[in-house]
Structure formats: structure tokens, C-alpha cells
Subunit: 316 residues, 2 copies
């Protein structure tokens, strides 16, 4: 079964112009897949070998027509509402559940035999500071976003079991890299320092698992090309404090004095420790990240040095 | 808050021509509500005081337009796929999740402040023969139907919390009564005996909680008119074996010899004991059933005696 499923296939990628999606596309092309990317944008970036389809999964009624036309063998479903400060609580999360179910039903009706979708570390219970392990750590989302992802994961798993297709669920932890929303942590600290301005940070004691977005994308592509079923953490397995992370940026940009630790309050909703067990990703999917914390930050700084004219809202 | 929420309101009932829904309508009218009933049928039964709207929630795109027109204060959502032998495993369950989310979003957007929906005892883990108690007994559905109901319950609870509306989830156990699908247990045994034919039953050792459908409906209406939040079992709290139930039918129809116990195999998927704790329904909602097992069966026999010309498929 393993060799069959790794043959080049027709893959439909949702959220193709998103933070993770855009990084998946060239990797899928490299692996010989026929890549169909969905975006709600009218003019997504041109990527060699990628066939673009403009479709708003939330409002468009053409999901079924698209699946009939493309007839994907596999779906990599990354689209969701991700606007910082909005995505955790917006009722749009429900619309994304509904849209995702519609997509899964259509794709399978038109021949898809494997579904891989993006979940989140915010599905896990973070009240106990344990390492998050698939199938072991209890799920206890405390946002509508997390609850929606948990519900969708359960629905897709039950559906896939019922109709006999492959199904996997990549739980994304923390990430950074090119094209990150400028307001998010790593992007905003780099942008401040590149502008010679102080970066207001929290005290930074939170322990997190950060992974470069290109590795997140490569992890998803490896998961898609595997036969692994169920939830798989997509993470580095290299926990660090936010303090260590931002000081790494300060050191690489030679402006450690601009990192203003403690200038922002720690959110009471911010759990002290969110760390991933990556045994499944490493041993079952067989994936190992390309970047470590040093090379990942270096790559991201280099990208922002070329793109620091970008302002909040001009990228998403 | 209790008195406010019990004032007469505009109530939208989905599945209005269904087994439970049709029994809810006159009860809601009696309580002074303005009752809007949805049905996918073109000519549902006329019930005094009920305003009918024809709409297929699954395929129709007019859910939002309907909610805008009706502007319900409360929604009693009973519609779902219920065809015996089909509903447990059909992928239509996913479409019902999506349609239910769409309805909840639209109703709340147009002013609804309370949502009450139908869940099922098949959400519970039945591998351990414990009494099913809300918030205590683990949920472990083993069908796509059960998984879909669990996921929808979680989504609606998280959504209601987020947007600040009331939300309750009535978990229906086993039921019988007028207008039951002719193929289901109580209906088919009564129909056989009325026709003077033998009724092939299993050995009947399964312990179940059966409630007359009019009481199920009255339980839902009481739940809607209360401020109770979360999951509430809608059941009799009077467990009996299937053997006792069918022998009661045999005794009342004076043909106990036509009850062929053991003529059908017990399904291996049929749990030995599915029993409801009704503390919440009784003490928090304040509901007590009108029928007991004797009067409930007598009422149902009387109804079938007038309707035994109905054949499978002519009622649903």
C-alpha cells in the first residue's frame, strides 16, 4: 500500500496562497504530483507547475463542480480563517467546518482516496504542562477555533473510516518564516529590529515548539505521501522559550539591546508550556526538519530584509 | 432570567413533519409560542396555529433568507437523516452537521437567543454497561451518526458560549408512538399482531430506556422553555428489557403467542444495556413523562389500529 500511495498523484491544495500552502506547492511539484491549488484570490503568485483555481470555499457553491473537474486523488486542506486577533473566536470557524465537510464529501465522491488537513496544537489541553502526544494528551480546546478543529478532525476520521479512504490530521504548533503575517511574533520582532526600533516582547518565559514554515509544509507533504492515519504533530521537537527565540533574533541582527523583554504583559490565556512529542512525525512519517532554530531564523531574517517594506495587511 | 425565557416567543422548529417534530408543534402552540415549522415536504399536515415553511436544509440555499424573514427567538432543531438501516452510516450525516451549523449561524445572526437540538444516546460509550449520565459517562460513538452528533454538540456549545446565546442538547434514547416508521421495533410488532401474524423478535435481553414520542416531544419543549444549558437526556428513567416491552404489546393485544422471541439474532453491535440517568431532565428542566410503559403502549396500539393500512415507506 505504501508504494501505491506514494506514486505521483493529482493533489488538490486548499489555502494555496496561504502561509503554509504556498510552501507546500513547489514541494509537491518536485515530488511529481499534478498540483491543483485553490485560492480565494484572483491573482495568486505564479509557481511553476501549479494549476490555480480561484474559489472561495466558504461562500462559493462550486466546490462540487471543481472536484468533478479536477478529480483529485488526494486533498491537502489548509484553508481556514487565520487573521491574528480574529481567528480564535470568530463564528467563521463554524463556516470553515461546514466548508471543509463539503469539500471532503465532494472530493471523495469524485474519487479522492486520501485527505490530509491542518489541525492545531490548540486542540490539546494545555492546563497541565505535559508534552502533547497524539492519542494520549487529552483534547480540551478553550477557543472556538480549537473546538472547531477538534470537531472537524473527529468528523473527517469517522467519515474516512466509513467510506474507506485514508485520512490524516497534521497538528501545527508554532511557526515562522517567509510571508508570515507582519503582526505575528517572529515577523514583528524582525521587522522592528530591521527598522532600528525596539521590539516590545513579553517576559518570554513561555516554552514553545517553533518550526520554520518550510519545514511545516514539508511535514505536511511527507504526511500526504505517507499512509499514516490520524493525528500527527507537525513540530520541531526542539522546545525553547520565547525569550531564547527573540534573543536569537536580536543576536543575529546584532541588536540584542532592542529586544525589550517584559515590555508587554504575558496574556493570562497564554499557557506556560506548549511542547510537541514528534515521535509519530519522525518515526512513522519519517520526516526530519531541514532547519534548526539558528538556520531557520537566519533564513527568515534574510527574507524580511528583502521584504521589510511589507506592512500589516499587505500580506496574509 | 427564567421568567423572561419562558415568555411566549417565535420558535422555529426543523423536522416539523418528523416523528418527534410533529408532536412538538401543538405543545408549542399551547404554550403561546408563535410556531414556525420547517419541512422539506410540500404539503405537511395542517396543525392549528402552525406556520409552515417548505425548505430542504440540506440543499436549499434559502436558510439565511428564511431566518431573516422569520427572525426566530428560539430554534428547536430536530431535522436529520433518520431512515432506518441508513442513518447510522450514511455520509449524509456530514451534510446534516454542515446544514445545522449554517442554520445556527443564520438564526443567531437574525436574533435567536436560544438553540435546542436533538442528540442521541448513541453519543455515549456503551461498552461499559453503566447508566448514561450527562457530563459523566464518556462519549464514544461507534457510528458516523453518533460521531456527527457529538461533533455538532461540541460546535454548538462552543459557538453559543462565544456569541452568548442559550444552548441545550437533548439526547434522545429509544422511543415509539404514533407515526413511527413502520419498520421500527414497536411499530412492526404491533402491526404484525394487528394483522394476526407472528412478530419475529430477538431474544430480547437488551435493557433499554423507551419513552413515548409525545413525552419525548414534551421533554424537548420543556427544555426549550427552560434556561438549562448543555446536554440533557430525554428519556423515561424506567429501563426495561426488549422482552418485557414486546410481551407488553402481546399481552395488550391478547396474542402473546405471536411474540416470537429468539426468532431473530441479536446484533453483535447491539449493546446489552442502554439506560438513561434522568436527573437533569427531572430536577433541572422539571419535566415528568405523562405516559408509563402500559399507557404508552396502549396509546400506540390504538393509533396503529386506526393506521395499520400504512406500509413501510408511506410514513417517515
Amino acid at each position: 500500500m505504501s508504494s501505491t500511495s506514494r506514486d505521483p498523484r493529482r493533489v488538490l491544495v486548499t489555502g494555496g496562497s496561504g502561509f503554509i500552502g504556498r510552501q507546500c506547492l513547489p514541494l509537491l511539484v518536485e515530488r511529481g504530483h499534478e498540483v491543483h491549488a485553490l485560492s480565494s484570490r484572483s491573482r495568486p503568485a505564479s509557481i511553476p507547475g501549479v494549476l490555480w483555481h480561484q474559489l472561495d470555499l466558504l461562500t462559493d457553491r462550486d466546490t462540487d463542480a471543481l472536484c468533478e473537474r479536477v478529480r483529485p486523488d488526494a486533498v491537502l486542506h489548509l484553508a481556514w480563517v487565520t487573521t491574528p486577533g480574529v481567528y480564535t473566536h470568530t463564528p467563521l470557524n463554524l463556516d470553515w467546518v461546514a466548508a471543509s465537510l463539503r469539500l471532503a464529501r465532494s472530493a471523495v465522491a469524485h474519487g479522492a482516496s486520501r485527505l490530509v488537513s491542518a489541525g492545531t496544537c490548540f486542540e490539546y489541553d494545555h492546563t497541565a504542562p505535559e508534552t502533547c502526544q497524539e492519542g494520549v494528551t487529552p483534547l480540551r480546546p478553550d477557543t472556538l477555533y480549537g473546538a472547531s478543529k477538534v470537531a472537524l478532525a473527529d468528523l473527517l476520521a469517522a467519515f474516512a473510516r466509513e467510506v474507506g479512504v485514508g485520512n490524516a490530521w497534521g497538528r501545527v504548533f508554532f511557526l515562522y518564516g517567509p510571508h508570515e503575517h507582519p503582526d505575528r511574533l517572529v515577523a514583528s520582532v524582525i521587522r522592528s529590529l530591521l527598522a532600528g526600533e525596539s521590539a516590545a516582547c513579553s517576559v518570554g518565559t513561555q516554552i514553545r515548539d517553533f518550526l520554520h514554515v518550510r519545514d511545516v509544509a514539508a511535514g505536511f507533504v511527507a504526511l500526504l505521501d505517507s499512509d499514516v492515519a490520524g493525528a500527527v504533530n507537525i513540530a520541531s521537537g526542539d522546545p525553547l522559550t520565547v525569550r531564547e527565540l527573540v534573543l536569537e533574533i536580536g543576536a543575529q541582527l546584532r541588536h540584542p539591546e532592542l529586544i525589550a523583554l517584559g515590555a508587554r504583559p504575558l496574556s493570562p490565556r497564554d499557557p506556560p508550556r506548549v511542547v510537541a512529542d514528534i515521535t509519530r512525525l519522525r518515526d512513522e512519517v519519517g520526516f526530519r526538519p531541514h532547519f534548526d532554530r539558528h538556520t531557520g531564523i537566519a533564513d527568515t531574517i534574510a527574507w524580511w530584509a528583502d521584504h521589510h517594506h511589507l506592512t500589516p495587511g499587505s500580506e496574509s
